[in-house]
Symmetry: C2
Subunit: 394 residues, 2 copies
């Protein structure tokens, strides 16, 4: 029984659905109309691209976010926890379509109890996982207040309701390095343990990891000891092969985004300039990591001489010091855990998305660890995450 | 000694550089000016994107291809065989910059002897690996004749000079399914053993694998028993993360293109409609395959019910029947060869590109196989390729 009862499951990637009044509870009166709020709107029922079979599903009076007049159709991407796969298909379009654990922290903790999960790090939904919705803002004063409102909600309301169970993660005002730095220190002072950051800023129109643009942000992360979580998809680029491809192609390929982030970071100056910085590859899986490390090292061995890349440190060595993989279920990765690095692996639940095994997460982890020594199980499911997130047992 | 002397190395992916008169020897007189030919042109010496350090390298009188008035700057992408990594950097810009094995089949066979390679499948260079240069043609009559000229050259001149060493591969006139089918039968009759095809036609402006557009092509492949080789990069999409990213990022990530092709094909109707069809993932590597098969199967288990994908056959089952991985060096993949499928692995040399280990390929393969049983070595380095390419020992 390798997953023993004293071993806590710490999930490094779950998701929360913002409750309807998150922003209207916090924004100044003059911004209540333009700021994010929920309205009712008639929307098509069918939501899955590439799924012609559902095209005639009609319409529904949905609850949607509106922000500066723009409509954001889905309140909770893939909030299907508790449904059978046979019932998957449409995104929930009303809060009543979801189980309360999606948006109510007390209900979430009860759902974690059922699932055997001790603590969780939850990403935003409407603002997108790295808060990139606020990059689209016309009014940057409102956008900055909206970022702060999400962070205040997450720390003061969501996590404060169960401080040993819910781990504070924050987003940044990505359009301003100066404001990013201020927000890191402001939220660190009140308990932030992780920052959600784009897996690649370049496709968002922001400077890439190969510039010195982000250095003040990364220095603030080193200074406060806070890791950056780069969730797959946060670059805004999805692995879509063709207009007609079924969504399964994209779903299966999303880990490639984390491969892109890994190569992008390990051939950049980031870790050479920031030796204490840590990144988590949220939802990226782990089974591909040994292949990619071998491939990057071979590339470095043969091709470093004529390129502006570090000439002395191998990418795999950088990986082991700076990057952390996150798996939901990845039996091939577990089998090859030593090639990934036992210290570089964390577990995640992905509640309430469709890749989650809720309410059977603990059983699924147990089954995948049957042949793993106890101490290695403990590192991967709990200890690595506690150390990285500076979230000790209380 | 697992790689024994009676085991032949069959390379499923090398490259040839077209000699200057390939087309002018074969095209009708009226097309000699517009058809592909070599001219001299002053070109910048520095050729590597993202490598600022070489920006002041000056100019050089280069040999370049011209075709319908367009200039194609490099006669041989990365034809660096025999150079030390410290000497890599610039593409060769004159035939005299390359070793003759790049463009002379007799010299190639001698280089294969040095390298311990028995037989090889060579892809085009100027037409791009899947002949997609001819999609850009204004005059499709000339383009069709140019495709046929490359195929005739490859079969009648290149391979005919050493028929037990050089394996005929052909390209197709991709803009016309009808002409593709004709060209498959025409070249099969004179010995074609493989077809180079885009890893994904969609980014090239062609219908995707999720349409029925290619069915006559795939039926002709089944009928003639010829596999399709989808070399990474042939979709025209490169894994570039940012404008400033060093080329190493792209080099390390190119295997992701083969992951895209794998998921795209396995969630398409292609193999359900063409049960005898085979694809080779040229240069794609193999170490990622078990991770991706597990990920695709999980996606299929949870997400098939609401999507237009096959409901009864798991992606991993399709993979084992239809897809073949090709590795240059991939020790993690070799270690996990049973999870890939021993019958789904072939070796490749990649001569004369920079990932090649020439003239030490046989030694490198030997070293990577030290702990592999003899019969499995034999399958991976020779027998799988001979069966797939219908290229028995003579």
């Amino acid at each position: 029984m390798p997953l023993q009862s004293h071993m806590h499951l710490i999930s490094t990637d779950d998701h929360l659905i913002e409750h309807p009044k998150l922003w209207s509870d916090r924004l100044p009166k003059k911004f209540l109309d333009a700021g994010p709020r929920i309205i009712e709107k008639v929307m098509p029922r069918s939501v899955h691209a590439g799924d012609g079979a559902r095209g005639d599903a009609g319409t529904k009076l949905a609850e949607v976010w509106t922000y500066e007049g723009r409509i954001y159709p889905y309140i909770g991407l893939n909030a299907v926890a508790g449904k059978k796969p046979e019932e998957f298909g449409a995104e929930p379009t009303r809060y009543e379509d979801m189980i309360p654990g999606c948006y109510d922290p007390a209900a979430r903790v009860l759902d974690m109890d059922i699932d055997g999960v001790q603590a969780t790090l939850s990403f935003p939904s409407f603002p997108r996982f790295a808060g990139t919705v606020f990059l689209e803002a016309e009014d940057k004063e409102l956008a900055l207040l909206s970022v702060k409102a999400w962070n205040d909600y997450h720390i003061d309301e969501w996590c404060a309701s169960a401080p040993d169970r819910l781990i504070p993660l924050v987003i940044l005002p990505l359009w301003s390095v100066e404001e990013c730095v201020k927000e890191i220190y402001r939220t660190a002072a009140k308990g932030a343990k992780a920052i959600s950051f784009p897996e690649n800023p370049s496709p968002l129109g922001l400077p890439s990891f190969h510039t010195n643009h982000w250095d003040p942000v990364f220095s603030a992360c080193e200074d406060t000891g806070i890791p950056l979580c780069v969730h797959f998809g946060t670059s805004g680029k999805a692995p879509i092969t063709a207009p007609e491809a079924p969504m399964a192609v994209m779903t299966a390929l999303f880990g490639c985004n984390s491969m892109y982030a890994t190569a992008d970071l390990l051939f950049s100056p980031v870790f050479h300039n920031h030796p204490k910085l840590k990144f988590m590859l949220s939802e990226g899986g782990i089974g591909w990591i040994p292949y990619m490390l071998e491939r990057m090292d071979l590339t470095w061995e043969k091709h470093r001489f004529y390129q502006n890349i570090n000439q002395t440190v191998r990418p795999s060595e950088l990986f082991s010091k700076h990057l952390f993989g996150c798996f939901i279920e990845d039996d091939f990765g577990i089998k090859n855990r030593h090639a990934v690095g036992i210290g570089n692996i964390t577990w995640e639940g992905d509640y309430p998305h469709s890749d989650s095994n809720w309410p059977n997460s603990r059983k699924r982890v147990h089954d995948s660890m049957l042949h793993v020594p106890d101490d290695e199980v403990h590192q991967m499911v709990e200890l690595n995450a506690r150390a990285l997130l500076n979230f000790p047992r209380t």
